[in-house]
Symmetry: C2
Subunit: 196 residues, 2 copies
DNA sequence: GCCAAGAAACCGACCGGGCGGTATGTTTTG
DNA sequence: CAAAACATACCGCCCGGTCGGTTTCTTGGC
């Protein structure tokens, strides 16, 4: 706003609004149901306006995923910087990452993007490359096969929890969704070389 | 066929053909893209014919999932019956289950159904109930928290492998997809009380 | 054994609507 | 005044679902 006098309209603000609204929408009904018209309505622009910022539907979705990966990167970097122990440093950050700042909307958005990834090579490539790059970067501290099992367990816990939170509210304490914080603690503890 | 003389036409055969074709179709492009017309064409019936056997699209998808769960049940029962060790018996069967008889089509079908489960309470309930029922049934042998981590790791491995096999063919031996058999061995070995 | 009758199985045309995408016009901005 | 930033109207397509008709089978009375 303060710098807006030297810019065009606020195209980048509109672009952000589109992305944010699209994120909200796919968090509710999944990414495969996302329609451009719905995004346009939610963002207060016309359908043509959306297509002005994103050449097609696929580009919009890829942009959303890229956003998510960038945010994840920041989170991981911050978590790793605050971790004094070398061994398993990245794995611990990765495990903690699945809490997504406990923001339900961000969690569902991530779920929605995973939904399209399961059958779309483009998003799949983006996602896979992100992880393999980081694994290669932190090979010195996180290449232990036991750590891989822990990361996979984190993925599995995430998947199970996400499957469960579509269910009608049930507060069964045995339900994995409700045990997730404890499970994160358990997995984190398993990453240390000589666990206490 | 032998008993067919006392039955109507072959409605149950048509029903099976519809289910099989639908399974093939969702294995290719995902369950969210499934159209009734495509199913009808593939099964050699009309659209009305499909709607005669299934009241709506959702019912068809639920029937496919129920089919998958029934098959999984048989597999698990067989695997458990052949396992002499009590502790972790169900968990071992569960881990082996994710190979899906190494049938790529069945694997993709399962992936497609998971895709809808992420945002649909009906299928989510079906899936969750299946697992919780079996966990309750085998609580005596498989309630160890360490075994839960293993099952979750199996889920995570499955998810990762599924994400990767949309990728254009790459035979990178580091890719989890190509290490899945070894990983299954590793997880299986971890289920025994005093691992060798 | 036969035949009417009714139910089940299935076909095919149709409907309203929403979809992704385009093409063109209008406003805003540098 | 040119180009960017939008709005508006429109196109063709396909979707899930409905409905009435036609064929095929089962049943039951005689």
């Amino acid at each position: 706003m303060s710098l807006a006098h030297t810019r065009r309209k606020q195209p980048e603000l509109v672009r952000r609004a589109i992305l944010d609204c699209a994120n909200r929408l796919i968090a509710e009904r999944g990414a495969t149901d996302l329609s451009i018209q719905a995004v346009a309505d939610a963002a207060g622009v016309s359908k043509g306006g959306v297509f002005h910022h994103f050449p097609n539907r696929q580009a919009l979705i890829l942009a959303m995923l890229q956003d998510l990966l960038d945010q994840s990167d920041e989170r991981v970097e911050a978590l790793m910087a605050a971790d004094p122990v070398a061994h398993g440093r990245f794995t611990r950050a990765y495990v903690k990452l699945l809490r997504m700042d406990d923001d339900p909307e961000q969690i569902r958005t991530c779920t929605a993007l995973m939904q399209v990834t399961l059958f779309d090579p483009d998003t799949g490539t983006l996602w896979t490359n992100w992880l393999t790059d980081r694994l290669a970067r932190h090979a010195a501290t996180d290449s232990d096969p036991a750590l891989e099992v822990i990361r996979l367990a984190a993925d599995g816990a995430w998947l199970a929890a996400r499957t469960q939170d579509t269910l009608p509210d049930c507060d069964d304490p045995d339900l994995l969704r409700n045990r997730l914080p404890a499970l994160i603690e358990r997995l984190t503890a398993m990453t240390y070389p000589t666990p206490g």
